[in-house]
Every structure is written in C-alpha cells, then in structure tokens.
C-alpha cells in the first residue's frame, strides 16, 4: 500500500489520522498522573482498540481525544492539525462519540436525535432528512417505522444502533466509542459487532474503540493497544501479533489462557482450504456408499439431500446396521458451517457434533467442503509463522537489518 501525500514519507503504513504526543493527565488533587506520557498514532481508516484493566485510563484517554477532558500536557494532532487548544465544540462536531449508556435524548425522536450534529452544522432541512433516512437504513432500522419513535420505545440494541447512527450523522472522519456494546446481551452484542464490522468495510472511518474485553478487541480491532496502569502501552500491534507474540508478561496475562483458541477467531472459513470429503446422496444404495467409503481414507461419508445440503455422517458400522434407515444412523451434520464463520465457530461445531469435522455450506445451504481438526491445526501453524515473521521483519527494519525476511525458522 502506497502512501500518497504522506507527510513522513518512506513508511508504508497509512498516514496517521490522530497522533497523541506525550499526553499526560493529572486530575486535581491527585498525586499521580492518571495518564502518563501516552504517545500513539492512530492510522486513517482503521479500528484501533484500547483495551486494559479497569482504571487503566482508557476512558480518560478517549475523552482527551475530543477534549471532554483537557490534557494536563502533551499534544493532540488531528489530520495533521494541532487541535490541543482549538474550540472544543467545533472539534467535537468532527468526531462521532458513542458511549456505553448511549445517552440518546429522551425528549427527542429518533430522527431528531440523529439530526443533532447536522443541525449544529446548520445543514439544510432536506439534506438532514435524506441523511437521517440513509443512516437508519445503514444501521438496519426501517426509517418509516422508527424515525418518529422516541428512545424509550426502542430495545437496548436498537438504541445502540441509533447511537452509532447519530455519531456518524455528519460523516465525521473519526468515531470514538467507549464500550459501546458492553451493556448488551451476548447474542445481540455479537450481532451488533458483526454489523458494525460490515459497515466499516464500506465507510472506512478511523475508529477508536474502548473495551475491557480482550475477545471483543481481537474481533473488532485492526490494531490493539493494550494499556497497563496509567495508560502505559504494554503493546500496540495487530491482533495476530499480540496473540502469537505477546510483548511481555502483562500482555500474556491479559490475553489469558487459550491464546491459540482466541486466534481462531481471526480466521474465517473462507480463508482456509477445505477438505474433500466423500459424499453421497441420501437415497443412494448402501453398496455404492460403502464403496465410496472404502476408496477414501476418511472414516465416514457425508450424506447430502437432493438440494445438496449436508444431512448426516455415516461410517462403516452405520452402513452394516441394515435394519435402520440411513437417515437415522450415524451423526447429524447440521447445523453446517457458513463460509463467513470463524475457525473458532467451526471448532465449536466439530466438538459439538463428535464428528471431528464440520460440513461447510454456501449461502443457499449447499455443500462446499469440509473443515476438520487438521485444517485448524494447519491454520494455527501458518498464523504463528506469519506473525513471527512480521515481528522479526519489524525488528530488522528498526535495526536497519538487510538480511532476507524469508529466513527459515530455526
């Protein structure tokens, strides 16, 4: 990726949207800095996650970016401009802000809530109306149904969607989000996370996202800043690198056990090669199925229905029990895995089904291939290798090393 117009030249990383330079905050009457010399570059168009234990200063840092909290010292640079002492209200209209409690205005309708910043910016009424409808559509809420409602008439998940829409209303380049999904039940949270990631592929905003949940950080982040006490950066890197090469014991501790398992959330089924499995139609006769089984090195055959949807796994033993209909033997192959699912979901399905493999289907539910424990093992090895290389590559760049990056592992 090139960097046209980049100010610092040379580096291949995208230009920083936000730069925090030696940012410090000491609250009145306290002996210690709450934030202590934080320096960080937030690249344009990426989701950067602040994650860390309670009290580490994530919220304080975020609120210093839009100057809801004024830094004691240090500089904030937005799109190359020093905004440390510009009019804070004007600055805030260039940054969306979403908080855990959402904070919708209860006396205003959903449409009026979303229109807040455009009104502050004195947009024309027509333009505001069009934009409000567009945003409601974007967050998956039918404008005709919801525009005129009041916040109390929405569910928690819907309120958070409106909160996101409101933050994006005037199309700000930056959106700050403080634990936006953490007050929501796990199922809705997962759905909101996916929708938001989907949205981000279209809007490509620069997003600073605070969470205390490392799993959410891994799922949502292009980069993760793991913050220790007083916002000291323990590690700032991609989720892959943080999982495979934690910088220190604090990070390791914070990731917790099961880093390999968590890494499985980073890879989607579409990213790995699927295994060819012997298949047969459910109505095929037992002899031809048995033949297929013998010709393959797999221990079972996957039965598909007439629409090519996976139905059951059957092995030699199942085929011998001739008194039982085929559809009642073997192990169920449903629910099958969709291609957008992560390897983590797949592994979960494999363990549930006792089969040690899971059938993968396309959007119509038709069989695409199989993912098995071997696939997942291979993916883990690849990720580890890549991360290690990336990690070494950066070290070489920093020390000006000229050796090949392709150097084999020893």
């Amino acid at each position: 990726m090139t960097n046209p117009g980049g100010k610092d030249g040379g580096a291949s990383r995208p230009e920083a949207m936000i730069e925090l330079k030696d940012l410090t905050k000491r609250f009145p009457g306290q002996k210690q800095n709450a934030i202590d010399g934080l320096t960080l570059e937030i690249p344009t168009g990426e989701i950067v996650i602040f994650v860390g234990p309670s009290g580490s200063g994530k919220t304080t840092t975020l609120r210093m970016i839009n100057r809801l909290i004024e830094p004691t010292s240090g500089r904030i640079i937005l799109e190359g401009d020093d905004v440390t002492s510009v009019n804070p209200d004007k600055l805030r209209r260039r940054m969306g802000y979403v908080i855990q409690q959402v904070g919708l205005f209860p006396h205003l309708t959903i449409a009026e809530n979303i229109a807040t910043v455009p009104k502050l910016l004195r947009w024309k009424r027509d333009r505001i109306n069009t934009r409000v409808e567009e945003l409601l559509d974007m967050v998956g809420m039918e404008p005709a149904t919801y525009a005129k409602r009041y916040p109390k008439e929405l569910s928690g998940g819907q309120r958070q969607r409106v909160g996101v829409a409101r933050a994006m209303a005037a199309d700000p380049p930056v959106i700050l989000m403080d634990e936006p999904f953490s007050a929501i039940d796990p199922i809705t949270r997962g759905r909101l996370q996916n929708e938001f990631l989907q949205l981000q592929t279209q809007i490509r905003k620069t997003i600073v996202f605070v969470t205390h949940d490392i799993d959410e950080a891994i799922k949502m982040g292009d980069r993760i800043a793991i913050l220790d006490d007083r916002s000291h950066i323990a590690q700032f890197d991609t989720p892959e690198t943080i999982l495979s090469a934690p910088a220190n014991a604090f990070v390791e501790d914070f990731i917790g056990s099961g880093a390999s398992l968590k890494r499985l959330n980073l890879t989607r089924v579409t990213d790995v090669p699927l295994v060819d499995w012997p298949t047969a139609n459910v109505s095929a006769d037992r002899e031809s199925i048995r033949e297929r089984l013998l010709r393959s090195d797999k221990g079972s055959v996957l039965l598909l229905d007439d629409e090519h949807r996976p139905v059951r796994w059957v092995n030699a033993g199942d085929l011998d029990r001739s008194d039982e209909p085929l559809l009642e033997t073997g192990l169920s192959a449903t629910p099958a895995i969709e291609q957008q699912a992560t390897l983590f979901d797949s592994l979960n399905e494999m363990l549930n089904s006792l089969q040690g493999a899971a059938a993968v289907v396309d959007q119509e539910g038709a069989y695409k291939g199989v993912i098995d424990i071997e696939t997942i093992g291979a993916a883990i090895r690849t990720m580890r290798g890549e991360a290690r290389q990336r990690y070494r590559g950066e070290e070489e760049q920093q020390t000006g090393g000229l050796e090949s990056r392709e150097e084999p592992e020893s």
Binding site: N66, L68, Y97, I99, G103, F105, P106, V117, Y150, P151
Partner: protein, 215 residues
C-alpha cells in the same frame, strides 16, 4: 341552602369580578416567580452549597405567617395591590426553585455527556436538553405554588388587596348578621373553583408542553 344559591345568583357579576381580580394577581405573581426561580435554579443547581443556602432562605420565608408578612410589607409597599403581589411572589419562589434544581439535577449524566461530546455548547445544552427534560418537574413546582398562593391571596384583602378575600373579610367583619356566612362561603367557594380550574389548566399545559418521549 336554597337561599345561598339565590345569593350566588344575585351576586354573580360581583363574584365574577372578584374572581378575575384574584386570578390576575395570582397569575402575575406566578409569572414573576417563574422567571426568578428558574434563573436562580439554573444558577445554583451545579453548586450544592449555594443551592442549599438559597433553598433554606426561601424555605424560611415560607414559614412567615402570611398576615405577618403583609403587615411587614405595609411600610415598604403601602396598602392594596403592591404588598400582596410582593408577598405572593415570595411565597411562590420555593416550590419552583426547588423543583428546578431537582429537575436539572435529575437529567441523566449520560445524556449530558453525549450532548457535550457532540459539540453542544453550555447554553445550548441548557436550553435544548436540560430545561426540556426538567420541565415536567418544574411545572409541578409551578402548579404547587399556584394553588398555594391562590389561598394566600385571599388573605391579601386584609391589606386592601384585590380578589375574593374581600368578600371573606367583609363577611368575617359582620359575623352574626344574616349575610355574613353567605359572604364567607361565597368567597371561599370562589377560591376553590379557581384552584380546580388552575389544576385543569396545568394538566393541559403539561400535556401540550411535555415531549411524548418523557411522558
């Protein structure tokens, strides 16, 4: 009973005039008290100590018996309309100020944080967010004040103030004569009717001026 209704019917124009004068002075006092109280409330609600002090002073003034306050105001404001108006304003302050402070403090901090985070300035937050959200509580204070000073205004006739108190005091002055009871009951009934009307008025006003989202 029959006689009393005859009395009301004969004196209907007179009673109506008294009621209008009564309502006028009360409404004027309430209007002045609203302006003062909301201003004071807005100024003090973020400063707990000053707020406590202001509310204590207003609370103390409420405990002065109304007859005494009217008397105290005679040297300053003379007789008639003025001392009554001043006293009514003083009595009306506490409920409105207290409810303004309570209402403004009751606004969800998350709502204020998001308003500030979106770039709404101090004044805009106050006018667009805080006061509208505090309004139902403030309106309750206004309603309480109104009912309270409707009663107190009647006593204003003691210092020659306007309103239904005149008939009440006339009646009291001639206790024993045949019309005394009619005068007192007629005036009192007028005050009660005004109080009921004001309740209906505030109920409708509340409906009209409170957003559906916070009802």
């Amino acid at each position: 009973m029959r006689d009393f209704f005859d009395y009301l019917w004969q004196r209907r124009d007179h009673l109506f005039d008294l009621a209008v004068a009564h309502a006028k002075i009360v409404l004027t006092a309430i209007a002045i008290a609203i302006v003062i109280s909301i201003l004071v409330g807005v100024l003090v609600y973020r400063r707990p100590r000053i707020a406590a002090f202001v509310l204590a002073v207003q609370g103390a003034s409420l405990t002065i018996p109304s007859l005494a306050l009217f008397g105290l105001l005679i040297p300053i404001a003379g007789l008639g309309y003025r001392p009554v108006l001043i006293a009514l304003v003083i009595y009306a302050l506490l409920p409105i100020t207290r409810n303004t402070v309570t209402g403004l403090r009751g606004v969800d901090p998350a709502v204020l944080e998001s308003a500030e985070g979106m770039g709404m300035g101090r004044l805009r937050r106050l006018l667009r967010i805080e006061l509208p959200l505090a309004w139902p509580v403030i309106l309750t204070g206004i309603r309480v004040s109104t009912v309270m000073i409707l009663g107190i205004a009647a006593i204003g006739a003691y210092v020659d103030g306007p309103g239904l108190g005149r008939d009440i005091f006339d009646g009291l002055a001639r206790i024993g004569s045949p019309t005394a009871v009619d005068l007192v009951v007629g005036g009192t009934l007028g005050v009660i009717v005004l109080a009921l009307l004001s309740d209906v008025f505030y109920f409708l006003l509340g409906r009209l001026t409170t957003s559906k989202g916070i009802r």
